[in-house]
């Protein structure tokens, strides 16, 4: 017996929820449209030259994105270099080696680290981390690795290296928790087989677990990279905000995100705003590509549904 009323209600509800779910695509279209449309003046004037030019000259209305693209890549690379070994090791510790009573508290701590707002981390970065680095770490690096062009020259605190370090602090939680999920989803059979063959605890982890989870862990790393590329506030507070890209990591620089935030209040002309939008478009392109790669790696990893992190 079909009651016309509830059938109607079913249809309405289904379409309502479908509409809301399709909002995702509407948002994607909106993002693409707004960035592309508002970048038009800049794209029209500079074309591809925008991506390889290092001129940033507001008085003459000339803009180029190269220092920021390179700055974004370098700061994220430094962050990965620091964060990946530490995160994966921590994930291994949490899933394989830690005593059971310690696991939940540690996991909670790491998720709380992820919850710290970027601006607060940046505040701590300006007043605590950077002075400490300037006083203790940078001189040490200068004296030991000063033969490399990266560690040459003096610094006054805010610099590319500081940005890389604070980025690493921010991406450690996400790499750790996704890696943890990956490691957890490795079938117990793999471990048991290795134990049965007489492997030590660490050997089981290295041979049976990590090699199985390689693809997933790589996905976790790429996810962290995606996060690092787009990070704005903490970076803009410790990177020094100069539109330059120089070999020395002790020198200030900028990333795409930090420069947009920094210059927005200074923008005067239409072309200036448009160039900032174009920087945003470049940033969006890079972040989306990286995130898609990460999601594909994680979703096709042969394990039960890994919950993607924010």
């Amino acid at each position: 017996m079909k009651r016309g009323g509830s059938h109607f209600g079913d249809r309405i509800f289904k379409w309502l929820t479908l509409l809301m779910a399709l909002a995702i695509f509407a948002l994607i279209a909106l993002i693409g449209y707004e960035l592309a449309a508002n970048s038009q003046p800049s794209i029209h004037k500079f074309g591809w030259h925008f991506l390889v030019s290092s001129d940033w000259d507001p008085t003459n209305d000339i803009y180029g994105a190269l220092p920021f693209i390179l700055g974004t890549l370098v700061s994220s690379f430094i962050a990965l270099l620091i964060a990946v070994p530490i995160s994966v090791a921590t994930a291994v510790y949490l899933t394989e080696l830690a005593p059971l009573w310690l696991r939940q508290p540690l996991i909670m701590f790491i998720e709380l680290l992820a919850a710290i707002p970027s601006v607060i981390l940046g505040l701590w970065g300006i007043f605590v981390m950077v002075p400490w680095l300037h006083a203790h770490v940078f001189p040490f690096l200068r004296s030991t690795l000063g033969f490399l062009p990266f560690f040459r020259g003096s610094d006054y605190g805010p610099c590319m290296l500081a940005a890389g370090i604070i980025l690493s602090i921010m991406i450690v939680p996400i790499i750790t928790s996704v890696s943890r999920e990956i490691l957890r989803s490795v079938p117990g059979l793999q471990r048991e087989a290795a134990y049965a063959l007489g492997a030590t605890h660490w050997e089981v982890t290295r041979i049976a677990v990590l090699s199985y989870a390689k693809k997933g862990i790589f996905g976790a790393v790429i996810l962290g990279l995606g996060r690092a590329l787009g990070e704005t506030m903490a970076v803009t507070m410790v990177i020094g905000n100069l539109p330059q890209f120089v070999p020395s990591l002790f020198q200030p620089g900028s990333t795409l995100a930090s420069w947009i935030a920094n210059q927005f209040t200074e923008a005067t002309s239409d072309l200036f705003y448009s160039s900032l939008f174009e920087l945003g478009l470049v940033l969006l392109g890079v972040t989306v590509v990286v995130n898609i790669i990460a999601q594909l790696l994680l979703k096709t990893f042969a394990g039960p549904g890994v919950k993607p992190q924010h």
Binding site: T17, M20, A23, D61, T90, Y93, L113, P117, I126, G230
Partner: protein, 374 residues
């Protein structure tokens, strides 16, 4: 009979245990250090004045962040109004309806949206809600009437508007800021920071329906900067949508299929089954998901730079710029006055406590759910 390299393998095992433990400690350290410093620096600056007074000017002493706190609270009301209905209903669709291919696409898109940097969201809503309001004021100069202090501008939509440019009005353009030096064909933007909306609307001579529409918008907004609390609420709400959609879907999936089947077997229609049985069962999880998303966007600063922009006074209208806690912290932190830095620490303490309170509270309330998640 042990293997010949047994000693070496055992010591390697011990070494790796130590190394991974050290890494775990290294990971926890920043959280501890950050918390320690914020409490240490911020605690002394927290007093009654902090919660009741407006921000100090450059070089001034005292003051507080009362307007910023109110601003953040306003955003915490506006953002869920946008984010929760869309996110929850969308999550319902993903969980209860839809073909597997469509749902896979939506899920994938939502996960990619979660990775969009917050500053990009800020630019997008800036274009959508701020620039759209000031669009009539940006364009090419068609004619300049220096004697009558008027300039006629044709905006990108082809609409021509005539503005009276008096002493309080600014013309934004690369070189020529004086009416006298303005050439036809130059790109300008007419800024009216100090004049009220109705004044401006009266001075616009719209030559089209769109011009009338934008004049009405100006009157409604009462401000021509375009920045507004609403825009801030919208951008934070947009950021919440993909988060809430995914968490809602996951929680709904945990509801046993038997509930749905029993309900349908009793003759209850599908939508009622979903709303009154499935969602109600999962309500706690949905609420915690929404709260976590809210805590996440509460601390965002970059999108707010482009939408609420900041203001030194109390918020008056939703269509005007406003201050918010993360924004105020940022402005003071990069400033040059020690009193501002003290204020920033205090603000950071409040913000951190807010965010941690929600996160820990949520974890506490759902602890039995997490007992198996080791």
């Amino acid at each position: 009979m042990t293997a010949p390299n047994h000693q070496w393998r055992q010591s390697k095992d011990l070494l790796m245990r130590a190394v991974t433990l050290a890494c775990a400690i290294l990971v926890v350290m920043p959280l501890v250090l950050v918390f320690y410093h914020i409490v240490k620096e911020g605690f002394t600056s927290i007093n009654w004045a902090f919660f009741t007074q407006l921000p100090p000017g450059p070089g001034e002493n005292g003051g507080g962040m009362a307007n910023a706190i109110v601003g953040t609270l306003i955003l915490m009301v506006l953002a869920p109004l946008v984010g929760v209905p869309v996110g929850v209903l969308g999550g319902v669709f993903l969980s209860e309806y839809g073909g597997s291919r469509l749902n896979w696409c939506i899920r994938f898109a939502a996960d990619v949206l979660n990775g969009v940097p917050s500053i990009v969201w800020g630019l997008v809503v800036y274009g959508l809600m701020v620039l759209a309001v000031v669009a009539p004021f940006r364009g090419i100069v068609k004619s300049v009437d220096v004697a009558n202090h008027q300039v006629t501008v044709q905006n990108r939509a082809g609409v021509t508007n005539t503005f009276e440019v008096d002493a309080k009005t600014r013309l934004g353009v690369g070189e020529a800021r004086q009416l006298r030096n303005l050439k036809t064909g130059t790109e300008v933007m007419v800024w009216y920071h100090d004049i009220q909306g109705t004044h401006i609307a009266n001075r616009i001579s719209p030559t089209s329906l769109w011009g009338l529409f934008t004049a009405a918008i100006i009157r409604l907004h009462n401000s021509v900067s375009g920045f507004s609390a609403l825009a801030g609420g919208v951008v934070l709400g947009f950021m919440m949508i993909p988060l809430i959609m995914r968490t809602t879907e996951e929680v709904l999936q945990l509801v046993p299929g038997g509930y749905r089947e029993a309900s349908l077997a009793l003759g209850i229609s599908k939508w009622r089954t979903i709303v009154q049985i499935v969602v109600r069962t999962a309500l706690k999880g949905i609420v915690t998901g929404a709260l976590l998303a809210l805590a996440r966007v509460a601390g965002e600063t970059a999108p707010l730079i482009f939408t609420v922009f900041g203001m030194s006074g109390w918020p008056h209208r939703l269509t005007e710029p406003m201050e918010a806690l993360p924004l105020q912290i940022y402005i003071f932190a990069i400033g040059s006055y020690p009193n501002w830095w003290r204020q920033a620490w205090a603000g950071a303490l409040i913000l951190l406590l807010m965010v941690l309170f929600v996160n820990i509270g949520v974890r506490f309330l759902t602890r039995d759910r997490f007992k198996n998640k080791i």
